[in-house]
């Protein structure tokens, strides 16, 4: 993980003091609602349906166990004993008091955490592959580059009042898109040139929310020293020319679309030409300093893989979990383990204070004291030795984190929805729970294979419904909750926005519709064909016929 220097820590402490003064002036009536709004948002604080919501930054999803324990104590002391993993890999508190928020930020700062720029019209948390650094398919570790970008974006004075929020993701896997760069304001694909030197293919103009679309390649190959100059050029063009009259047309995707990729590139390249070679140029020493924070842990060389194989032979449930919830690791003898926070009846991504502490204990014991959050609202222990997997599984199972459903129909991604969020048009949690109850037979769920179900309570698309194989969007029709279904979205290398099925459904109809969609798939699939491939082969019509027929 990135290790703070004195100045990183001082910056956080000064931020807390600044925000404490701003909160004091707001509570004393010296700042208007609107003025405080912009300030509190850039410190992660929303005012929600019942209470404020505080979004804590988890840079590219990385946490150490000291930080996890701090999140547990904050959830206990300032909230109702639980928090929520968001689709931006952040952590959300749902019930803090406004007056307490400076103290919460001070507690976070004591463990090198903060809520800087987790909302508001600024550059948000940088995200990446949750298996970054251990993924055998990546060409290099993307996290040092995320950190380089994070520092440039943090309190960047020119880009704090953009037309709209701005999200950047970094991906280092050539043939897959685990970071969803195709649907980000800027997506950074790490590539290597013929000499093996690092560069970046830079995409811009993707995004979900209203008017979802995938991005365009703006920079085909940006050499690594120029990364920040190139990003700054794109941001400056957006800051100057992005739409500020209509918030629904204010994301960079609308600007890129309106100008066309070629014109946008021309403007960005003109800015870049002035910045290139200047003081923003990254140095080998600085990149090396940051890379040194992301070195391999002390992997064991004596891992007894035979022990794993005998456990796999003996325990069917363990075997199923192993094949579903663990992933290959770049290091022989190790696996990356995902803890699914998707137990039926629980808000997807929710975790209690005691569970956080239990996860921290397990990470200390089995995973080099490191925990990650994922954009699918799960957690990852990235470095677990194969001969300890069985012990770990037994403990995860007791905690309820070993449901073997990673990437399956019940591993639902969902925003908190109308139960908590003031923006939502409809509830999303009961919809998720209904689907999980319908598909409660694990054998059947496994037979269905990979199936992404994403639910958003409104157009803002926090549940990423556009990229779900099955997407569910809450809409408001004359004060009543309805749900629009999309099919065929993808959040992988072929990022694609799902297609609307047709008229929306009432909440009590949704579960039946999902059942019918699954039935059409089963009736049509070829051997070993996953849902998304069947959909792409047969198209929307067979699904529509059954659902609306």
């Amino acid at each position: 993980m990135y290790v703070y220097q004195d100045y990183d820590q001082r910056l956080l402490e000064e931020r807390v003091a600044q925000y404490r003064d701003q909160t004091r002036r707001y509570l004393a009536g010296q700042l208007s609602e609107d003025e405080f709004l912009a300030l509190r948002l850039q410190n992660g604080l929303y005012i929600q349906r019942y209470a404020p919501m505080m979004r804590i930054s988890v840079p590219y999803g990385m946490l150490n166990t000291t930080q996890v324990r701090k999140l547990a104590s904050i959830s206990r002391d300032y909230d109702k004993g639980f928090c929520h993993v968001s689709t931006r890999q952040n952590i959300q508190l749902n019930w803090p008091e406004v007056a307490d928020t400076p103290d919460i930020l001070a507690e976070l700062a004591s463990v090198q955490m903060h809520a800087i720029q987790t909302s508001g019209n600024c550059i948000r948390n940088i995200t990446t592959d949750e298996y970054a650094g251990v993924n055998p398919r990546e060409i290099e570790d993307p996290r040092p580059w995320c950190e380089v970008i994070r520092q440039w974006a943090t309190f960047n004075p020119e880009f704090a009042y953009l037309p709209r929020k701005f999200k950047i993701a970094v991906n280092a896997v050539p043939d897959a898109d685990p970071a969803l760069i195709g649907v980000h304001d800027i997506g950074v694909q790490i590539v290597h040139d013929h000499d093996g030197e690092t560069g970046f293919q830079v995409w811009a103009g993707g995004g979900l929310g209203r008017t979802p679309m995938t991005g365009e390649v703006i920079g085909e190959f940006v050499p690594w020293p120029d990364l920040l100059a190139y990003l700054e050029a794109i941001l400056r063009v957006y800051n100057k020319y992005g739409n500020r009259d209509n918030k629904y047309k204010a994301r960079i995707k609308i600007l890129v679309k309106a100008l066309g990729a070629d014109k946008f590139r021309e403007l960005a390249e003109a800015e870049f030409a002035e910045l290139k070679g200047g003081a923003m140029t990254l140095t080998r020493e600085e990149v090396a300093r940051i890379k040194a924070c992301f070195v391999d842990p002390d992997y064991r060389v004596d891992v007894d893989s035979a022990a794993l194989h005998s456990a796999l032979d003996q325990h069917r449930a363990f075997n199923r979990w192993y094949h579903t919830n663990t992933r290959a690791h770049k290091r022989g003898g190790y696996r990356a383990v995902t803890l699914t926070l998707k137990k039926t009846g629980r808000i997807p991504g929710d975790i209690t204070d005691e569970q956080l502490e239990a996860v921290a204990d397990l990470a200390d014991r089995y995973a080099f004291s490191e925990v990650r959050t994922t954009h699918q609202q799960n957690m990852v222990l990235a470095d677990v030795a194969e001969d300890e997997l069985y012990d770990l599984w037994r403990q995860l199972d007791a905690l309820g984190f070993a449901t073997p459903n990673l990437g399956l129909i019940t591993d639902i991604v969902s925003c908190p929805g109308g139960d908590l969020c003031a923006l939502a048009n409809a509830k999303s949690v009961p919809i998720a729970e209904g689907i999980q109850r319908q598909f409660d037979d694990l054998d059947f769920v496994h037979d269905l294979g990979p199936l992404d179900v994403n639910i958003s309570g409104c157009m803002n698309a926090c549940g990423h419904h556009h990229i779900g194989h099955i997407g569910i969007l809450g809409v408001d029709k004359k004060g009543k909750e309805f749900y629009q279904i999309t099919l065929g979205g993808r959040g992988d290398r072929q990022s694609r926005i799902g297609e609307k099925m047709g008229p929306s459904f009432e909440s009590h109809e949704v579960n039946g519709v999902i059942g019918k969609i699954v039935r059409v798939y089963l009736d049509n699939r070829l051997e070993n064909e996953p849902f998304i491939s069947t959909y792409e082969r047969i198209g929307m019509d067979p699904f529509k016929e059954v659902v609306y027929g």
Binding site: Y161, L162, N239, K240, A279, E285
Partner: protein, 167 residues
């Protein structure tokens, strides 16, 4: 006399900012430093250049330093208006004035200018601030220095922090 923050001090505001309507109706006053809108500057440039007292130009969002590039070497002041503090275009304009055009005169933030934005404004090149009239300008001064640390370079020192540290 109204007050303004210039180079970190609270001083009397020596400049009178005029709207297009005022200028169309009353013309330019004989004496005293004035700030005129870009549109008025472009349409009355010759006459304004004849004037003995100083003239500055105010940019609105959507009007860029490029529109004024040729005149920048002779202008003593460029103001950038923030109709609402959340409209951040002016930050890029100030930065361009300083770094692209090397403008060394006064760059003044006017309009919805508040304490909590001053630090960022200063970093991108503003050196003068007409704090909104209903706010305490003394208190607003605190907004210039909430941080002793900055990651990025800025118009005052273009080096990012790691280059400053090792220097």
């Amino acid at each position: 006399m109204a007050k303004v923050i210039v180079n970190g001090d609270i001083v009397d505001n020596a400049w009178q900012r005029l709207t297009s309507e005022e200028l169309e109706q009353q013309g330019v006053p004989e004496a005293g430093a004035v700030i005129v809108p870009l549109t008025y500057w472009l349409s009355h440039r010759e006459a304004l250049l004849e004037r003995s007292a100083p003239v500055g130009v105010c940019l609105e969002p959507g009007e860029e330093p490029a529109d004024l590039a040729a005149d920048l070497p002779t202008l003593p002041l460029v103001a950038v208006n923030f109709p609402a503090f959340k409209d951040g275009r002016g930050y890029s304009y100030a930065r361009e004035l300083r770094t692209r055009y090397g403008f060394e005169g006064e760059v003044r933030a006017v309009g919805d200018v508040l304490q909590d934005q001053l630090f960022y404004m200063h970093r991108v090149g503003f050196n003068a601030f007409e704090v909104r009239a209903d706010r305490d300008i003394e208190e607003a001064l605190n907004g210039l220095r909430p941080f002793s640390v900055t990651y990025q370079g800025d118009v005052h020192d273009e080096r990012p922090i790691y280059r400053r540290q090792s220097a």
